[in-house]
Symmetry: C2
């Protein structure tokens, strides 16, 4: 048997000492099933962290579809194949009718990169607005719109960051309509900044639930106002649904919650339940224009195996009513968290939608001083008790919960009882 320290040493040599690992004592996971992960010693962990295995770890129907198609044919999209058409048509049927054409890729980073290319080509501008604490992926261009790891400040002339819309620590201490207007004014300021610098405007990319920003309650009216101002300035709105999409929020797409229809949607992570499948779905005129002016081809994107997997994921999502389950069990968890909040003053705020839940820990509810260290202890203590979660937000003090969607009320009860214990220890 390999010990943890052997594995860690091999890992440092092969992948680099800074290759990221979770937890103070990393986990050695060897098996997954449904909402459960198992370590090398056979110990089960309730997975309240992983959003990629949307319909459950090692879901048998998805695995069967993967194996069946891989044993039959796996080629690229320059031959005709029905599965890509069946899947693509089924996928776009779930979006607004204006979003009717698809560009298949393999990862969320690729999806956002192509979305930026499409928007820049269409507008002739380069300038893109994002939020200060977002992360959209890791290609050179997508890294530019991901200032989360760079102190909130974009390092490219062609990107401007707005403060993310937040009701818990609101801009200027405002509330209600005035707060929404203040954030929309930041969008206007960014647009004006591009104009002053002679940078043409291409548009705005946002995660509709602001997942990496800590899942804030978005001031009502902000999204509509921001998108309207972007369009009035000739820009396009890209909704990055890599985290919000595929039903996690209790709706199929995050933009439905936000109440706006994007020009371009990017999707990835849960789309293939772990298989590298991602896509850009956009207005037909935008994709046609891109195809017309750019020789775009993706070797693996939209291959028959990926599309067979995508179809199987939608089958399970529908058959098990997992979008409804996300909404129902998510509400149940949030109600339970509200009860915990009465006993634990550290719970400053409970946020999110469906099974995408954030719990902000603070040292003082009045000052909202972030309980960053306590949050780290909390997730490590939860892990020791067999429950996996993460943390996020500008102060790394928001407990991040986004389990596979077949998460039951019984799973929720275990989560809540364990969190109750752990919060008592902090």
């Amino acid at each position: 048997m390999n010990t943890h320290s052997d594995l860690m040493a091999r890992r440092a040599r092969l992948l680099g000492a800074k290759a990221p690992l979770f937890y103070d004592e990393p986990l050695h996971i060897v098996r997954g099933e449904g909402v459960w992960l198992y370590d090398a010693a056979g110990r089960p962990y309730l997975d309240v962290y992983n959003n990629v295995p949307l319909v459950g770890h090692s879901q048998p129907d998805v695995v069967a579809a993967l194996a069946r198609q891989a044993a039959t044919l796996n080629v690229h999209t320059r031959y005709l194949h029905e599965t890509i058409l069946d899947y693509g048509e089924r996928l776009v049927a779930r979006l607004d009718p204006s979003l009717s054409m698809v560009l298949f890729v393999c990862t969320g980073s690729e999806a956002v990169d192509q979305a930026l290319r499409i928007a820049r080509l269409h507008t002739g501008g380069e300038g893109v607005i994002c939020t200060n604490l977002t992360y959209h992926g890791n290609t050179t261009a997508v890294d530019e719109v991901s200032p989360l790891f760079y102190g909130g400040v974009p390092r490219s002339e062609r990107v401007r960051a707005i403060p993310f819309p937040d009701s818990y620590r609101p801009l200027g201490g405002l509330a209600g309509e005035a707060l929404a207007d203040a954030y929309v004014a930041e969008v206007d300021r960014a647009i004006a900044g591009f104009a002053e610098n002679g940078v043409g405007f291409a548009g705005m990319v946002l995660c509709p639930v602001f997942a990496n920003e800590g899942l804030p309650d978005v001031p009502r009216g902000f999204m509509q106002g921001a998108v309207a101002h972007v369009r009035a300035a000739g820009g396009l709105f890209i909704a990055d649904e890599v985290q919000a999409g595929f039903g996690r929020t209790g709706r199929m797409w995050g933009y439905e919650l936000a109440g706006v229809v994007p020009d371009i949607v990017t999707m990835g992570k849960p789309m293939g339940n772990g298989h590298p499948l991602a896509a850009v779905v956009a207005r037909a005129d935008l994709i046609e224009e891109f195809r017309d002016r750019v020789m775009y081809f993706n070797t693996f994107g939209g291959n028959p195996v990926s599309c067979a997997v995508g179809n199987a994921v939608l089958d399970v999502l529908d058959r098990e009513r997992l979008v409804d389950n996300a909404r129902e069990v998510g509400s149940y968890v949030r109600a339970g968290l509200a009860r915990l909040q009465q006993r634990h003053t550290m719970i400053g705020d409970i946020r999110g939608h469906g099974l995408w839940i954030g719990v902000e820990l603070v040292r003082d509810r009045a000052t909202k001083a972030p309980a960053t260290e306590e949050s780290n202890r909390a997730i490590n203590l939860m892990k020791e008790r067999g429950i996996l979660m993460g943390r996020i937000g500008q102060f790394d003090n928001v407990l991040k919960m986004r389990p596979p969607l077949p998460f039951s009320r019984a799973n929720a009860d275990l989560l809540l009882a364990t969190l109750d214990d752990v919060l008592g220890l902090l």
Copy 2:
């Protein structure tokens, strides 16, 4: 049954009218096995085109490894897992000892994009040299080093293109050492151009066999000279092995043929036999520096399923001695092509290494006038006769042959006999 025209109409609506398809009459492929593909009517086609299914279409051991690991666990790399270590160690053991650390990604485009990030971060410069007729992938940054589809002219200040090294249509009509020197002088000119424009120099990215340039015979000494001058100017050399790597040329890596050791290697396409698996392998100090300064994570890259697939591909490659087979059968094909050349004046040049073969068709051997239209007819006529190949090169007149590596002498005989017939019809 769907007719071709039904599929074409659905495809145009869903993917765009310009989404690329092969052949004047596209193929509807439904099954693959070994070196054979089958269309919807059950007709077999000998696959002399597809380099991605390296160890054969639907290779049973690879499919079994994929299915087994997908049924067990598929998570990201922030938990410990042995398969990523087993595979990664086995992979880097096949490269020069100086190339010892790996960054797993999902596609060749992602690999080249990260390689550019690593080189730019290390050098502090942005300027990158590529050839005029190369294509390295499709992200925003990689598109910049892919002038093939933009008339050979990079559209970014931070990229400069050199004419690709060619012995068939040599620069200035030169030959031998003088020709190699002339191409190296183009590298010097590009480096000087960056300096004049105040663009810091980051390095050079080349496919070691210049696959997209048409697989030219590289003037001896060019690669050593070019790489030495790049390093002398403080730049790094990135070898893009997405097409050359994994044994196709009869050696494991294209850089072995080229006789230079890169600082960074990118790999993709055949690595997972169709599964989206790709990587950057580089000097440990470069990856450590990148990891240290950038929060890099790839959701799907290096997951247990991808690594199990990668291991299975190496198993088959070794067990079936496919690298040797590529060298042996490749030589056999080239010898057969040389015989055809005696009968068919249209064959201007026969090039390549192992089972990566280019045949340049010309209307006149003296003027070397490209037989572009004839090349298009040739690949369509070959397809009608049940053999799949493509074409490439600056005039689209180089027949492109790169079958799955279990390509036998019997397969080669069929290829040669059919090509003999088809060339007689042009």
